[in-house]
């Protein structure tokens, strides 16, 4: 069955009572048991532990990522947190991509280090560096590819082999490409993590997260955390996300085509010093992008001539591209990390993860590409 067919039908069966084609929103906290000794006979007791609408989404995502099962969360960070908490205890060590999302970096350094967990932030684009970082107490390798916002790629297969050789789970944040373009579990990873806020929802209407695992045992240990720590997804959010996913491949194909056209336009613009998009031949890891994913996605960054001032000016000159830090939605969103997402990050740290002063991140939306290019063109002309 093709991906688009699965994104519409997987996990969802018509409601047996009424035939409703959509899964109802089970807006209930608790589920009545037929009798005391038939406790949990229908699988549901309390919505923190499991809810049928959320469950439909979990089943759909497990199918799309080719995993055994999935757990959903209040946000993408809650999903990351659940994986960390399930895999790591005081005294353990984890290897985390050195260009991981700032939120991931923060939960490692500000929260779990306090609880005696040790982290190595490693260049996961270099398998040798990862292999060298493995210790006896390493219990998790967490990567993100393409990384946010640098788009640096990690070779999922290569890192998974290292992880497997040491009996350590490899978790991949697959938010940027979604299983439509990239399936980490097929490439050997053990866990795929998502902020469903991004392409799965796609409409800027919900925040949510998901974790898909390759093994039942991993799912069980992560599901324990989902229930115990209570960072669950609400049934309404699950319902909206179920609806969003039905157009995922269609949106992503169009958004990626837009991104390719914009990247090519920017590449030839005199005010642009550099463009980075995995679909460009000039992209350093273009070959890896072609082999481990079936598409390049809709995220790109470029650097304008003139540093911070020019980047800021560009932000204030765009009209259609919206100044907002989310990504993956139908609206095109533009950010200037130095003054926005990474404003609090020290310069050395920014440089380390490749965020230069003039770097502008673009989450390309579903608008007509002529309108988007027109908007960027007029804004660049004002620099």
């Amino acid at each position: 069955m093709g991906f688009t067919t699965k994104q519409i039908h997987a996990g969802v069966t018509p409601d047996p009572e009424t035939g409703s084609i959509l899964t109802p929103v089970y807006q209930t906290t608790t589920f009545v048991q037929e009798s005391v000794d038939k406790y949990l006979a229908k699988g549901y007791s309390y919505s923190r532990s499991a809810n049928p609408t959320v469950r439909a989404l979990e089943e759909k995502l497990a199918v799309l990522e080719e995993g055994v099962d999935c757990t959903c969360y209040s946000t993408g960070m809650a999903a990351i947190q659940a994986v960390i908490q399930a895999c790591l205890s005081a005294g353990d060590h984890a290897i985390v991509s050195d260009v991981a999302y700032g939120g991931t970096y923060r939960i490692c350094t500000k929260v779990y280090q306090r609880f005696g967990v040790d982290f190595t932030f490693s260049n996961t684009a270099d398998p040798d560096a990862v292999a060298a970082a493995v210790q006896d107490n390493t219990r998790l390798i967490l990567t993100e590819t393409p990384a946010n916002p640098t788009l640096k790629l990690t070779d999922i297969q290569a890192i998974s082999e290292i992880a497997q050789a040491h009996g350590v789970p490899h978790a991949v944040d697959n938010t940027f490409l979604t299983p439509f373009y990239q399936r980490p579990l097929e490439l050997g990873a053990d866990i795929a993590i998502h902020s469903t806020t991004k392409y799965f929802d796609g409409h800027n209407a919900t925040v949510g997260g998901a974790v898909v695992t390759k093994s039942r045992a991993l799912d069980e240990s992560i599901r324990f955390i989902q229930n115990a720590s209570g960072v669950i997804m609400s049934p309404w959010v699950a319902w909206l996300t179920l609806q969003g996913i039905k157009t995922l491949s269609v949106r992503l194909e169009r958004q990626s085509a837009n991104a390719q056209a914009i990247a090519e336009f920017l590449g030839s613009h005199p005010r642009v010093a550099k463009v980075s998009y995995p679909g460009l031949k000039s992209f350093e890891q273009h070959e890896l992008a072609k082999t481990q994913a079936s598409g390049f996605g809709a995220m790109l960054w470029f650097e304008v001539e003139g540093g911070v001032a020019a980047g800021k000016r560009l932000m204030d000159s765009v009209e259609l591209c919206m100044l907002a830090e989310n990504l993956g939605s139908v609206e095109t969103l533009i950010t200037h990390p130095v003054t926005m997402t990474h404003a609090d990050v020290e310069e050395a740290e920014r440089k380390r993860v490749g965020i230069t002063d003039g770097l502008v991140r673009l989450s390309v939306g579903l608008e007509d590409v002529e309108d988007l290019i027109g908007d960027l063109s007029q804004a660049l002309d004002r620099l």
């Binding site: 807006q27 209930t28 906290t29 589920f31 009545v32 048991q33 009798s35 005391v36 000794d37 309390y46 919505s47 923190r48 209040s74 946000t75 960070m77 809650a78 999903a79 947190q81 205890s89 005081a90 939120g103 939960i107 500000k110 929260v111 609880f115 005696g116 806020t197 929802d201 800027n204 919900t206 925040v207 955390i225 115990a228 720590s229 209570g230 960072v231 669950i232 997804m233 609400s234 309404w236 959010v237 800021k312 932000m315 204030d316 259609l320 919206m322 100044l323 907002a324 830090e325 989310n326 609206e331 969103l333 003054t339 926005m340 939306g365 579903l366 608008e367 007509d368 002529e370 309108d371």
Partner: protein, 389 residues
Amino acid sequence: MKKETRVTHQPEIELPEGNEPLVDPVYRSVKFTFPSIGAALTPEARREGFDYTRDANPTTRQLELLTAELQGRADGICVATGMAAVWLSVLGNLGAGDRIVFFLECYRPIRTMARERLPRLGIEFTMLSVHDHEAMAAVFARDDTKALIFEAPTNPMLQVPDISAITALATQHGVTTILDNTFGGLHNHGRFDIDYYVHSLTKYASGHGDVMGGVVISDEQRIRALKPLAVSMGATLDPGAAFLILRGLRTYYLRHRRHSETALAVAEFLAGRSEVERVFYPGLESDPGHALAGQQMDGCGAVLSFDLKADKKQAWAFIDALELFATTSSVGSTESLVAPVKLYFGRDLSEEEARRAGIVDGTVRLSVGLEHPDDLIADLDRAFAATFT
């Protein structure tokens, strides 16, 4: 602009001045825009503005401010569930090498957190009885004891802790106090010297059994310090859930009063039954916690437990015979609910611990709903007749 662009940049509806919605809309949007980068970076925008719903959302903010005010504190952080609130308050106040004190009588997921999960984060625990002030004084005096989490009254056995005595001991030794005030309610216990209140808003605040949520409430400084952890944990409450809880709170006081009145009537009925060994409800004059509850609380709420003079089989048959009480967990909703205590809330306890917690095979917990008390009492009466012949 082409139509394909227009559909993602939809017309804005500006409300004429004074033509406001009576109920504020649900702000479903994940993102909030700013007119310019400069505007996004002002201290006011960073402190009070909205940017990304994981971090802050106007609908959720409304709920945070309302619940904090009802609890008599300055601010709060809303999260996905009551347990997420518990975790946030605990992780925010402890690090590896620290010790937490909690009570045997508490809600099962809190025991699971403290006994199974926190040790993995290097956090030690001491589990005491909520009535054992002497043992508390001893463990609070330890250098590594950093926080105490407790409930008033406790779930599921409705024990009433002496909040003044406990907080005095904790304060004396610089131990942070976290009160899970879900059973007390947002209008209760605000006058005590508590550092953090946590609530499952799923219960009395929502009141309609349809939505999950939690909140941590404290002073401005503590909430500001805790906020980055909440964002890191991503424990965000869905704004749609916040909207439903705000709706529920409109009838909070009416419901709580009615719950308390009906629960007392049901407790009195049960106390007079020969099939019942003991009733646990602080509103009942004969309850050991009655005098203390009278000083500490206004209204004892919907939840009561009682011991049937029955083995497990007969107790379960009694529960199954009830028609108006649905067999399920949770409390504080408009519908009446019933739960077998040992099965639902005592699975992790050893026989010895269950005995100390006062839980026997015949212990039953009721959450009394808003139905007419006569109907609920008639239902209980019918179940007694059907199972105790």
